[in-house]
Amino acid sequence: MELLNVYQNNYLMVFAFLCLGVLLPVVALFMAKLLRPKFKSDAAKYTTYESGIEPFHDARVQFNVRYYVFALMFVIFDVETVFLYPWAIAYEKLGIFALIEMLIFVVMLLIGLIYAWKKKVLKWI
């Protein structure tokens, strides 16, 4: 029960930090609203910046597919690290057998990385 209390109190502290993290921008922006001059400046100020010329087209275009491939690779390797963390903690108890198992797992993912490398996905043009 004692330990549960400590555990919950620690996360309550994290929650307090979260509240403050959200509150600070809100309060600061509210204060800025009170302090700053109140007048509507001319319409030209509210246009999008584009080095002084009139902005043309919408900026939200279809972006380079490479970014998507990197995001996919990120998911694969991030999941790998999620598996590696519990393994690293329990390694002392598991011993050399777990090391070999994990080596096989990582080598399989490395093959994926090498495949992407050979396919020139990692190359940025």
Binding site: N5, V6, Q8, N9, N10, Y11, L12, M13, V14, F15, A16, F17, L18, C19, L20, G21, L24, P25, V26, A28, M31, A32, L35, R36, P37, A43, K45, Y46, T47, T48, Y49, E50, P55, A59, R60, V61, F63, R66, Y67, F70, A71, M73, F74, F77, D78, T81, L84, Y85, A88, I89, Y91, E92, L99, V106, L110, L113, W117, L122, K123, W124
Partner: protein
């Protein structure tokens, strides 16, 4: 008193006290950020043979940043017509909130730590990943071509360098057998600082951390000579200040984390120096790490985007993976002898 509080059952009163403690700490961090910016400008100034800010607040320009913040506070608020209004307003909040959340778990001395989480390191890495969503939201909401390019670059960079960062942390978790940052420091008391045991992990971690902080040489997300100001081109006044604040709070958090992981946190370097309190040691190591970050900014040229991305996947990731198995083998060998 805090121990009693931690052992009492959680309730509204506890939350109130925690909130006040966190609020005090928030002001400490804001003070740090104020003077970190001044220190950065001064250090950069001296390294480039300039003087740096020296007008406001005496010879050392001690009030320069305070004046800058006041200026931002009274600045006219501009939201472009073409921008996505709700997203534009929420983005700085999402970028800032996680940066303050991560410092909750960092142990400054053996007594001073806000939340002693048993998943400390993983908590830090997981929460800090949220900021990139704020960045991307800001870029998308601005409806500006420079912003979108900068935001895409920032996202690609963040996700690419997150993996070496997380993997280099694994070597330390392997040696300690725990993700709790207190345990990690305690383990270094017996074995010596982890920079000696994990030099490869330190180098990888340091480079990846620089990229995560968008610091030069990895500041492509806001490369001002090609992208104006990157993802916050359209932001001004206090909305912009929130992005800057998040960046510097992350610098505080990352320098603290590196101190804890690799330089033994509050531990003295030698036993006979242990009469100096731990907070002083922590502060000294923290200052050195922060100074190195400034120093790099003055000396390294910015990287090219293609070099940046290839470096993460082709160099850092394999090296970090190799380091994990090297550490595991080292551990086995130590067990035999």
């Amino acid at each position: 008193m805090v121990q009693d509080l931690l052992h009492s059952s959680p309730g509204l009163l506890n939350f109130g006290i925690f909130f006040l403690m966190a609020l005090t700490f928030l002001f400490v961090i804001l003070g740090f950020v104020t003077y970190a910016i001044l220190a950065e400008r001064k250090v950069l100034g001296f390294m480039q043979g300039r003087i740096g800010p020296n007008h406001l607040g005496g010879r050392w320009g001690l009030l320069q940043t305070v004046a800058d913040v006041l200026k931002l506070l009274v600045k006219e608020d501009l939201i472009p017509k073409a921008a996505d209004r709700p997203m534009f307003i929420i983005a700085p909040v999402i970028a800032f909130a996680p940066s303050f959340m991560v410092v909750a778990t960092i142990p400054f001395t053996d007594k001073l730590q806000f939340a002693d989480l048993n998943v400390g390191l993983l908590y830090y890495l997981a929460i800090s990943g949220i900021t990139v969503i704020g960045t991307l939201m800001a870029a998308w909401a601005s409806n500006n071509k420079y912003s979108l390019l900068g935001g895409m670059r920032a996202t690609a960079q963040m996700v690419s360098y997150e993996i070496p960062l997380v993997m280099s942390g694994l070597g330390i978790v392997l040696l300690t057998g725990s993700m709790n940052l207190n345990d990690i420091v305690a383990a270094q008391e017996a074995s010596g600082w982890y920079i000696l045991w994990q030099p490869i992990a330190f180098v990888v971690f340091f480079i990846a951390a620089m990229a995560e902080l968008y610091r030069v040489p990895f500041d492509l997300a806001e490369a001002e000579n090609e992208l104006v100001a990157g993802f916050h081109t359209e932001y001004s006044g206090f909305r912009w200040a929130m992005f800057m604040l998040a960046e510097y709070v992350y610098m505080f958090a990352m320098a603290s984390l590196m101190t804890v992981l690799f330089f033994g946190g509050w531990l003295p370097p030698f036993e006979f120096l242990s009469f100096i309190p731990g907070a002083v040691w922590f502060g000294l190591k923290f200052a050195v790490v922060t100074y190195i970050l400034y120093w790099f900014r003055a000396t390294f040229p910015r990287m090219r985007p293609d070099q940046l991305m290839e470096f993460a996947w082709k160099v850092l990731l394999p090296v970090a993976l190799a380091n994990i198995f090297l550490t595991a083998l080292l551990k086995e060998l130590l067990n035999i002898f």
